[in-house]
């Protein structure tokens, strides 16, 4: 299993009605590294991530998580067969997901949010689950906020609770869907720091982000998508360094002020 990549995506196609959002994406996410998906809005990067989290079902193509097929297998004649729900759930349990909108449950405290699945899904006794949840909250620096409800937390704190909630289930792959896009610049830093620590601990991460600085400094691999296609892929210095792909140039020009772009 160790030689298999954490995530392998083959010829993935996703359409919403007549609109093709992903047109045959191939992607390999190596284990223990941070892979960053970047690209303009509407490029399909979030949809790709959501397909890997099985929140969207792709129309064609296959996804493997740790070498196991997610959702569908390819049959003898190339047809796709849907796997049973229990199998889907099992493969999915390797994955933790963090959303742009945090999506904490408002009727539970920070601790309750983190402990919920440990009790409901894993069947842990409430007390043991809360101890584990507390440890996760202290890892993201929020043990003092355990008893607070989401409405009583800042955006940055909510996102850190959401990260703790995903990590509590001990996933070996973490997906981040624009985790800092709804945060003020001041609060972005605290979330990126947590993600940096997580990366240093060796977690396999796939991050959709507009934080080019984070992608360049923490990412081992950058994948640039545009119009549902993979345009460039490589190490940060290969993707951002000169000479660089014309589309990357345009992207950096429009997404960043030039000062930041030239820092890379």
């Amino acid at each position: 299993m160790t030689e298999k990549p954490a995530i392998k995506v083959e010829k993935l196609v996703k359409r919403f009605g007549a609109n093709t959002v992903l047109s045959g994406i191939d992607l390999v996410v190596p284990r223990g590294q941070v892979t960053c998906l970047i690209g303009p809005s509407g490029s399909g990067k979030s949809t790709l991530l959501r397909c890997i989290a099985f929140l969207e079902e792709a129309n064609e193509g296959l996804i493997e998580i740790n070498g196991e097929p997610l959702g569908f297998t390819s049959g003898e004649y190339g047809e796709r067969n849907r796997l049973p729900a229990a199998q889907i759930q099992k493969v999915r349990s390797h994955i933790g997901m963090v959303f742009q909108q945090f999506n904490l449950w408002p009727h539970m405290t920070a601790l309750g949010n983190v402990a919920e699945a440990l009790v409901t899904v894993r069947g842990m006794p409430r007390k043991a689950a809360e101890e584990r949840a507390m440890a996760q909250l202290s890892n993201v620096g929020l043990s003092a906020r355990a008893g607070h409800y989401p409405s009583e937390l800042s955006g940055g704190q909510q996102q850190r609770v959401a990260i703790a909630r995903a990590l509590a289930l001990d996933p070996d792959i973490m997906l981040f869907d624009e985790p800092t896009s709804s945060l003020d610049p001041e609060l972005t830093g605290e979330v990126l720091n947590v993600m940096r620590e997580l990366a240093q601990s060796g977690m396999t991460m796939l991050v959709v982000t507009h934080e080019i600085g984070f992608a360049a400094s923490v990412g081992s691999k950058i994948v640039f998508l545009d119009h549902g296609e993979k345009i460039v892929e490589g190490r940060p210095d290969e993707v951002f360094g000169k000479p660089r792909h014309e589309r990357i140039d345009q992207f950096l020009d429009t997404y960043l002020d030039r000062g930041a772009a030239t820092l890379l």
Binding site: A53, L55, Q89, R92, S93, I95, G96, M97, F99, Q101, F102, N103, L104, W105, P106, H107, E116, A117, T120, V121, Y149, P150, S151, E152, L153, G155, Q158, A162, R165, A166, L169, S182
Partner: protein, 222 residues
């Protein structure tokens, strides 16, 4: 004509008994209406499309006709289709059906108001559909729907007065009977108004208390 309170006081035991019937019909009818309404909303949301359409028609029919007409048809028309109910049962069935139609629409709006992301987050940590309903959707909806549920329940109380038309021995019937017998309509109906109002205020106060208790669960700003 004098405002004869003594008359009311002398019939107080009868009036209180009738008040008991009103409160019982109100609470049981509302509770059943909330429950049946929930089942309708769940079937319409998660059931096959045909079922959604099949349930849409009766819900619209009930919402589109006066309660007075419905209860009259149920009680006096029921026997023609082999449904002979005594007045209290007919009243309770009628209230439940009437309430269920409205409550089901409230529940439906509640389902639609839950952010998709909250449900996706539940999916991602492995909660199945039933667990998501029980642990996430229902509690969030309770919070969202509380004010409109209280409002509808207040309306349910006032609709019980309509049941006097099929001789359910409830408050309005008892008091209007007194009025007819002793020509004491003003006293009777003044008291009637006050009693209904007091009940409504009690219900609203409970609702406000619950809202205050739940206020910290409000949706967080993102």
């Amino acid at each position: 004509m004098t405002f004869d309170l003594d008359l009311i006081i002398s019939f107080l035991p009868d009036i209180l008994r009738a008040l008991g019937v009103t409160i019982l019909l109100w609470i049981v009818g509302s509770a059943l209406g909330i429950l049946v309404g929930f089942v309708i909303a769940v079937l319409r949301r998660y059931g096959p499309r045909g079922l959604d359409l099949a349930l849409l028609a009766p819900v619209e029919l009930i919402r589109g006709t006066p309660f007075l007409v419905q209860i009259f048809l149920l009680y006096y028309g029921g026997p023609f289709i082999g449904l002979s109910l005594d007045s209290v049962t007919a009243g309770l069935v009628g209230l439940t059906i009437y309430g269920a139609a409205y409550y089901s629409e409230l529940w439906r709006s509640g389902f639609n108001a839950i952010p998709r992301g909250h449900i996706e987050a539940a999916q991602c940590v492995g909660l199945n559909r039933r667990q998501t309903l029980k642990r996430i959707i229902l509690p969030e909806m309770t919070m969202l729907l509380l004010p409109s549920m209280v409002n509808m329940t207040i309306l349910m109380l006032k609709e019980t007065a309509i049941l006097s038309i099929i001789s359910v021995p409830e408050l309005t019937l008892a008091v209007s009977a007194l009025g007819t017998k002793y020509y004491a309509f003003v006293e009777g109906f003044a008291i009637l108004a006050l009693v209904y109002w007091a009940l409504v205020e009690a219900c609203s106060a409970m609702g406000r208390y619950a809202e205050r208790r739940l206020s910290k669960y409000r949706f967080a700003a993102t």
